[in-house]
Amino acid sequence: MPERIKKDLIIIGGGPAGLAAAVAAKKAGCRDLLLIERDKMLGGILNQCIHDGFGLHRFGEALSGPEYAQRYIDMIHELEIPVALNTIVLSMNDHRRVLVSTMGSLQEIEAGAIILAMGCRERARGALSIPGNRPSGVYTAGAAQNFVNMENIMPGKRVVILGSGDIGLIMARRMTLEGAKVEAVFELLPYSSGLPRNIQQCLVDYEIPLHLSTTIIDIHGMDRLEGVTVAQVDEKRTPIAGTERFVPCDTLLLSVGLIPENELAREAGIELHPVTGGAVVDDSCMTSVRGIFSCGNALHVHDLVDWVSEEAERAGVNAAEFIRAGQDEAARRTVEITPGCGVRYTLPQKAVPGHDTPLAFRVTEPSRNGVVQVLDSSGGVIAEETHARLHPAEMVWMALKGEQLAGLERLEVRVRP
């Protein structure tokens, strides 16, 4: 039988989300907490993101990933927050009981509240439908980032990248600096899914071509990858006959999207959102199971770690409040927030009238001078903003005031057609 203990708050995952949540919860008065991380060190995925650009909003400096993480790790130590490293949460139920394992020894923890901060994982080849052989040399961009930046191993010399997500772009530059030849980046969509800054500084700077509306239709090589066949696609994303060409390479990196890590949430019966892949939450980051909160990339894939920290702090403060006072009755009557035309998803999906709510959402396609609007159920405009640029790769933020939500049942967020 596993040993049984009780904790007021446990935080699952020691990446930037878990770190910020723990710091905020402790500062909000929660004393009996535990931060659980399966790796041997804190920091999560930031440890391998050695490029700079993190923390411009938080710290007003362009830090690298490990430096950004270190700032929070220092706070964890200063606040004497207990951390369990090399410890994995194996299962969780809807009564906030979790089973954890540290090097083979099991423990059951009953928690007053739980914060889910397990991050995300990369979509791998299995999630795509590229036919062809399965030679070695095909990696996710994140796995390659880990090899190069953590293990000092170069996966290959002649590289093709599928997908223009930021991790792939960052790796195009990184591998070029280490002497590899990056042949090209191929993107299925007619626009890039990476940030414009990364397109410029990771591709254009090193004369790496980006081919839009193009995909890989075949992979060649028996033991080691020898090349790929690419083809242009039409509006329906079907390859166009006659546009096929062979591109020789020994390495293929897949940068085709991230999926929130939510096995534990699923197991506990937490309602997940079909578009984000993360939990459905209210403005306090609470999921459909009382006392279980979610933040960071486990909730939805963020483009900036600064927003991860901010969201996680909100989860931390609210979890501490939940432990102290339980959930207030008002919080059970929520306003539904739904995506309208031109909007892929919103966060949160629910808000409590009277609570100031930072509303985040993603648009479905790029546009210039787009007007984003928040409508009530009768179509009245509650809030409106014009954005010089809207892009699916960049989260849009709008601050909704508590009183704007008063008396409403449903809100729609849309891009004015």
Binding site: I50, E151, Q200, A388
Partner: protein
């Protein structure tokens, strides 16, 4: 030559259409789309001498990790990045290393330093 550039100086993100001569370095001829003076300074710099920060790794002797990540403290001319990489590749510092430790000053004659960005402990 003509191209579109996204000004990264402020969140407005103006799209600047620029016309420039080919050649190394290229010269800016005409541009439009910027909303302010800073955008003008930026587009000229971006075309004629783009400046970049970047990151890399160095192997570490006696550390609990085999590599330490490093970065430039100030932007350097893009054209010098590879020369600086050559100097970074020769480094082999001893653990312990701390965030902010300076490993190189003025590599390849540029006005920047290479600093450590990860804590690396010494192995016993």
């Amino acid at each position: 030559m003509k191209n579109e550039f996204l000004c990264v100086v402020c969140p407005n993100g103006c799209l600047i259409d620029a016309e420039f001569t080919e050649g190394k370095p290229p010269k800016l001829i005409a541009f439009e789309g910027h909303k302010c003076q800073r955008g003008e300074v930026w587009i000229r710099q971006e075309i004629e001498n783009p400046m970049r920060t970047f990151s890399s790794n160095v192997l570490v002797e006696n550390g609990n990790c085999i590599t330490a990540s490093v970065r430039t403290t100030k932007p350097v001319p893009l054209a010098r990045v590879m020369d600086i990489m050559d100097e970074i590749r020769k480094l082999y510092p001893k653990a312990p290393l701390h965030v902010g430790d300076v490993l190189l000053n003025n590599p390849a004659g540029t006005d920047t330093s290479i600093i450590v960005t990860r804590e690396v402990e010494q192995t016993r």
